[in-house]
Symmetry: C2
Subunit: 436 residues, 2 copies
């Protein structure tokens, strides 16, 4: 099996033409203050160094990242698509443990023509990724004659809010290495971990495993979640594979980061005091908010998956379903969005295999709004419990005046306060806003 | 024939899932200062209005642009690819009059899988696009069973530096309308016209032609050339087709403009006095520089195509070729880049059908450097004329110490002086820099 895609290995990037030889001749003329003062000044590097340093910091300085392996691209959205274009041909597949972020379906498959195949995880073991589940998904693909090119892990997980432990990461790495397929780790929530256990990056596992093929390992990162910069469109590909770095860098032209924003980011991330304070304050506030929400829910008997990361929690409303079906789930969800007027996301949209789970975002609103939201949930649950045998009595819930969204931030807030921790931008497409 | 691509008409964007219904419910809650003070503030609009107004100004205020039809994307690079994804399926083709900008091959075809077919133009009529040439290219595609989905015009032309006249535009529009194929007009150099005749946008022709199908017309624009902002990655798709606007807006998530940069652009473009002064000053300076270069060339008997736009001119070195072949052209080019040490681009890379033409960029350097470059060219031409019968005697030309590039600007200059007129950014890929 070819390791990379046809697009990654063909000449379509055009840089092998004579036109670009001129530019390359020019590339061989790097700036030096005395020896070559007229040479090219590589400003991208400063930014990549700042980003590498920041990524190391978020990982407790237990790993090192090489700035030369960093490719910047238009948000994690662009980074994911770029990797898909590099690694797989149309029709090929990536395995993705479910539940997973719905945007993946668009980001990775829409224009690339590849497909995502779910690795089914269950609530019975807290949605852990097991070797068994991976093998089952892989075999199912093989039985359908679908070429599996990789496994996409999301760590910390959106929507679960959990981190992958050492065993899961090691086992996943062993699995992909055995099958000679790629391992893509989406670590865009790495700095949202607000409680133990600590976040473990695949980079850390890799340091401990010298036998595995590093050409198969790629990390997707972004500043949208960890720093609350979704509008800045800073996505990052960190690949251990030289060809992928090369190809992704060429593709980055389709979604480069604005130089103005590059400049701002380089200055900001180089400020160690600011970064340290931001990271600890952000974790503290996320932890507080998470506590308020999960306690508020449990007061009316609503459980949620034990979590320690992310800007959301994974709420268990199975008890409120008419029946254990996705029809019941969507029916319950319609009541929640139309009558309770809270924008939570149904598990089905995350490809969850069990109906009744909902993702609730808690980070991007003020304290008063959280209380309004919790009060509405309380009222709703109490009314539902007391309603007729069909479980839900819509007529009991009049529309309240104040419509709130559990995932909302104004664009001007993002622009004016880039260091705030809430991460949503009402950009052109709902999907952009929805990337949480 | 389907008007749009499979990607444009399938559900791969994912926004038809329940997950996004929640976001859409929320979209229906627009901000109003008194009636709905908590509603969504649509800041994108201010920017689109500023851009629309700027585009009108560049076109002498003879046309109107609807801000709702503007889709921002990551540079013209991203805009071109997005349009290709929207309009054509893998294997389909767009006709492109040659010579044309080499980056098109990458931007439009690399990841989309479509192909570009040249419309052969000749020096005998100053590379005009004729109905005959269009029909010939179209027929050739049909004979090869290739589905032609559109015609891509570049106006003003890169590399020719000429504008399309009213007849050519009208005839091209008639051609595409007759064939029921798309007409994409790349107008990214529209504000670089420094002498008569004036620039005529396809938008103007469209106002005069009520019978043609507007769903087939799309404009690509950018601030990289007209304002010298390549690093800001502001590309623009203006489509008269609602479905394309819709689809392109969804795809824009892969290469959105940084909110910080959006904010800056909206402020800058809203400043009428600045914009007016910039446009007139830029045209004046480009005209002066063009005069210096073309006169300098003609002093040593080098001709160039009569031009009135762009940041380059189309230099005729056919007399210096060993023979009328592309081998001779590349041989001559190697001497120019390695010995004369000037980075010009050979016509073959622009798919020119006649060997011996070279593109020379003149805008992005200071006056002294232009003189150094002209002196080198003078010396080279005189030496070549006096050399042996094979036309070129490499040994005569030692390497000079100062290597200059005719298309070079430092990143920090772009960032610090965004209103300067020279437009090059040494970003990650040579192609990005090379987009002139």
């Amino acid at each position: 099996m070819e390791l990379l895609s046809k697009i990654a290995t063909n000449d379509g990037h055009g840089e092998n033409s004579a036109f670009f030889d001129g530019w390359k001749a020019y590339d061989s003329d790097p700036y030096h203050p005395t020896k070559n003062p007229n040479g090219v000044i590589q400003m991208g590097l400063a930014e990549n160094q700042a980003v590498a340093r920041f990524m190391e910091k978020v990982r407790g300085n237990r790993v090192r990242f090489d700035p030369a392996r960093i490719v910047m691209s238009g948000g994690a959205t662009g980074a994911q698509e770029t990797l898909a274009f590099c690694l797989a041909d149309p029709g090929d597949a990536l395995l993705v443990p479910a539940p997973y972020y719905p945007g993946n379906d668009r980001d990775l498959t829409w224009r690339t023509g590849i497909q995502l195949l779910p690795v089914i995880c269950h609530s019975s073991n807290d949605f852990k990724i097991t070797r068994q589940a991976l093998e089952t998904a892989y075999k199912k693909a093989q039985d359908s004659n679908i070429k599996v090119k990789g496994l996409l892990l999301n760590n910390p997980s959106n929507p679960l809010g959990t981190v992958l432990n050492r065993d899961t990461l090691t086992e996943s790495l062993k699995f992909t290495n055995d099958k000679k397929i790629h391992l893509i780790c989406d670590e865009i929530y790495s700095a949202t971990v607000f409680a133990r256990p600590d976040f473990i990056s695949i980079a850390e596992i890799l340091q401990e495993n010298n036998e595995c093929d590093r050409d198969l390992i790629h990390i997707v990162y972004s500043l949208s979640k960890d720093l609350g910069f979704p509008g800045f469109r800073v996505g990052i590909i960190y690949s251990y594979n030289d060809s992928v770095v090369n190809c992704a860098r060429k593709m980055s032209s389709f979604g480069l980061v604005s130089t103005q924003t590059q400049h701002l980011i380089a200055s900001m991330l180089s400020d160690d005091v600011f970064v340290d304070r931001f990271l600890s304050e952000s974790a503290k506030r996320l932890g507080q908010r998470h506590k308020i929400l999960s306690r508020g829910l449990s007061q009316v008997g609503i459980g949620s998956l034990k979590s320690n990361a992310g800007l959301y929690c994974w709420m268990d409303l199975r008890r409120l379903l008419k029946g254990p079906t996705f029809e019941s789930e969507i029916e319950l969800w319609r009541v929640i969005i139309n009558d309770v007027k809270i924008n939570v996301s149904p598990g089905a949209s995350f490809h969850c295999s069990e109906p009744g789970w909902f993702r609730v975002c808690f980070a991007n609103m003020d304290d008063e709004t959280v209380m309004v939201a919790l009060n509405r949930i309380h009222k709703f649950v109490i009314q539902t419990k007391g309603s007729s045998s069909d479980g839900i009595n819509r007529k009991q819930y009049g529309r309240s005046k104040l419509e709130i969204s559990l995932s909302f931030r104004r664009l001007d807030e993002i622009m004016m306060a880039p260091h705030k921790m809430s991460p949503h931008s009402p950009m052109s497409s709902p999907l952009v806003r929805a990337r949480t």
